[in-house]
């Protein structure tokens, strides 16, 4: 059984009870079919109550959950023939950003994404998915390569944000992200971006200027972390649940605000409860959009991307 988030406890209790009864029926050769059926019915209802009433803060917890599938889980599930490419050719190979040639279905693409790592050792090696300028420059190098080879770009976003540290500043975190925004705006091949977990501010948009931008159902995308926002505006990081509510960072919010094009459904409770199912939905959505985008001539594609981002935001006239 997976680890649990606090609010999932009622579901987990029922699941445990069913499991116990099933075990008993085997061990003691008793017949608990009726009880099990009843509990299973109850479980369905309980799941509905819990998962259909998730607060933005619950969704933040699911998006960050340590068992949520990461890029390294999705790669074998959605593509074949992955050839990882390393390094930014300037300074280093940033392990927080992963990229390479990949084949999704029959479509050859350049796949790029953040990777947080699973074990503590891996977390440290991948800097918990917080890329330094080298990571953004690696991503750009691969995107320009994709452009040269005529391959569409698929980016999977899952980061708390770009690394806020001294190396980031001295090597130009700002410049690296800004350069990606500038170059992605005019990239001559299709770009499909999916926020799979956390879409953390500049660190996320730095690889997410897509012709199509999608989000997993329980992912988040925000200008600042709820904790950061709460620390500034509430003067208390513990008010993060309130900030999460105010920031409108869930997938339905972003769809409503016109920032994303589609929500990719997840298994009840989150992708971690059935990574294969989540990956299948991801693959289907990405392929469907790539197919549509592949019919557009490059100029049209870039013009449409410009129009898409030009239309973002809401303002008034005096």
């Amino acid at each position: 059984m997976e680890s649990l988030l606090d609010f999932e406890k009622p579901v987990a209790d029922l699941e445990a009870m069913i499991e116990k009864l099933k075990k008993l029926s085997v061990e003691q050769k008793g017949d608990f079919t009726e009880q099990i059926t009843q509990l299973e019915k109850k479980l369905i209802e309980q799941k509905k109550t819990v998962y259909e009433n998730l607060s933005p803060w619950h969704i933040v917890q699911i998006a960050r959950f340590k068992e949520r599938p990461l890029l390294q889980d999705f790669i074998p599930l959605i593509c074949s023939d992955f050839v990882e490419l390393h390094g930014d050719r300037h300074f280093s190979d940033d392990h927080a950003m992963v990229g390479g040639f990949a084949t999704i279905g029959d479509t050859k693409v350049m796949l790029i994404g953040n990777n947080k790592g699973k074990s503590i050792k891996e977390n440290v090696d991948r800097n918990f998915g917080q890329a330094k300028p080298d990571g953004y420059r690696k991503a750009l190098r691969l995107m320009k390569l994709a452009e040269r080879y005529g391959l569409p770009v698929v980016t999977l976003v899952d980061t708390q944000g770009a690394f806020p540290g001294i190396e980031g500043e001295e090597r130009g975190q700002h410049e690296a992200i800004a350069r990606n925004l500038l170059e992605m705006a005019r990239l001559q091949v299709p770009i499909v971006s999916v926020v799979t977990g956390e879409g953390g501010s500049g660190g996320a948009i730095g690889v997410a200027v897509g012709d199509v931008v999608m989000m997993f159902q329980y992912s988040i995308y925000s200008v600042i972390s709820p904790e950061g926002c709460a620390a500034i505006l509430w003067r208390d990081g513990k008010e993060a649940p309130k900030a999460a509510e105010a920031l409108k960072l869930t997938a339905p919010d972003l769809l409503r605000l016109g920032v994303i094009d589609e929500i990719i459904p997840e298994p009840a409770g989150g992708a971690h409860r059935n990574p294969q199912q989540a990956a299948a939905s991801l693959k289907e959505a990405v392929l469907r959009h790539l197919k549509k985008l592949s019919t557009l001539p490059a100029k049209k594609l870039v013009d449409k991307r410009f129009e898409k981002f030009s239309a973002m935001g809401q303002f008034g006239r005096e």
Partner: protein
């Protein structure tokens, strides 16, 4: 009363009215000198912050500025409320107090006779933060420069993205860069002047991708806040960290220019950038 018995000392109140204290060297400066130098300390060359109108006044040829899209105003798309109240009320208040409609003024004018399109941010308006209306104005001015074949100069002064507009604020980073990228394709110069302060989402978008990046002495320029970095790395940061000079040293800035030389420097760069046109 004979002159030698008169009290020559100026009353305290009057003294405060004619002197100001430099924030850097603590020297007392005549207010008149401070305003003549446009808020640069004559003793230590400290460059104080100036508002958008003063910036336009010292950069463009007198009387040449014409505002465009001045009627664009922020709204409250998220209906954002925090313990200090609603964002909607805050912008109404800020607009009244600053007499500005947004954190940026855009328009056209000339520098030493050469036509330019400019966007000038004003830190007084919500810390110069990048809201939807800010992004819109910066994009539209880029489009104007593109359609009218003029160079584009953006003066940044901003704490970064505007939290109260959530992810819509974040999207302005991509939106503005889209406009800038089109200038590059047309061979039109884009000059970024990063004034004190230029940080966060503004430094990580249009401000850092000038064909030429210029700043003023001592300006704060950075991606992450100093406090955030100190908490992350648990180390003390160098004194000149994230200053104009630090960025020059690390290769992200072309020149640190004194305010009094800014106009002529820009004029020269524009003339090189437009040499082919």
């Amino acid at each position: 009363m004979p002159w030698f018995t008169q009290k020559t000392e100026t009353p305290k109140k009057a003294r405060e009215e004619i002197w100001i204290k430099c924030e850097q060297c603590r020297a007392h400066i005549f207010k008149e000198d401070w305003s003549n130098t446009h808020k640069v300390c004559p003793k230590c060359n400290y460059h104080g912050r100036i508002d958008a109108y003063e910036r336009i006044g010292i950069t463009l040829d007198a009387g040449s500025f014409k505002a465009i899209n001045a009627d664009i105003i922020p709204t409250d798309p998220l209906e954002f409320t925090d313990p200090k109240g609603s964002y909607k009320d805050r912008i109404t208040e800020t607009r009244k107090k600053t007499k500005l409609n947004e954190s940026v003024i855009t328009g056209t004018g000339t520098i030493n006779g050469q036509k330019v399109t400019v966007a000038v941010m004003d830190f007084r308006f919500q810390g110069g933060s990048l809201g939807s209306a800010t992004g819109e104005k910066i994009l539209l001015a880029a489009n104007y420069a593109h359609d009218h074949d003029t160079p584009y100069i953006v003066f940044s002064a901003s704490g970064g993205a505007r939290m109260q507009e959530g992810v819509l604020s974040l999207m302005q980073m991509a939106k503005t860069c889209g406009g800038i990228a089109r200038l590059g394709e047309k061979g039109l110069p884009y000059i970024s002047v990063l004034t004190d302060p230029t940080t966060g989402g503004v430094s990580a978008s249009y401000a850092m991708v000038g064909d030429v990046n210029i700043t003023e002495p001592g300006a704060l320029i950075g991606f992450a806040g100093r406090r955030v970095i100190e908490q992350t790395i648990k180390q003390k940061l160098p004194d000149n960290f994230q200053t104009a000079e630090y960025l020059l040293e690390h290769g992200f800035i072309d020149a640190v220019v004194n305010r009094k030389d800014m106009k002529d420097t820009l004029g020269k760069i524009v003339s090189y950038g437009m040499a082919r046109k």
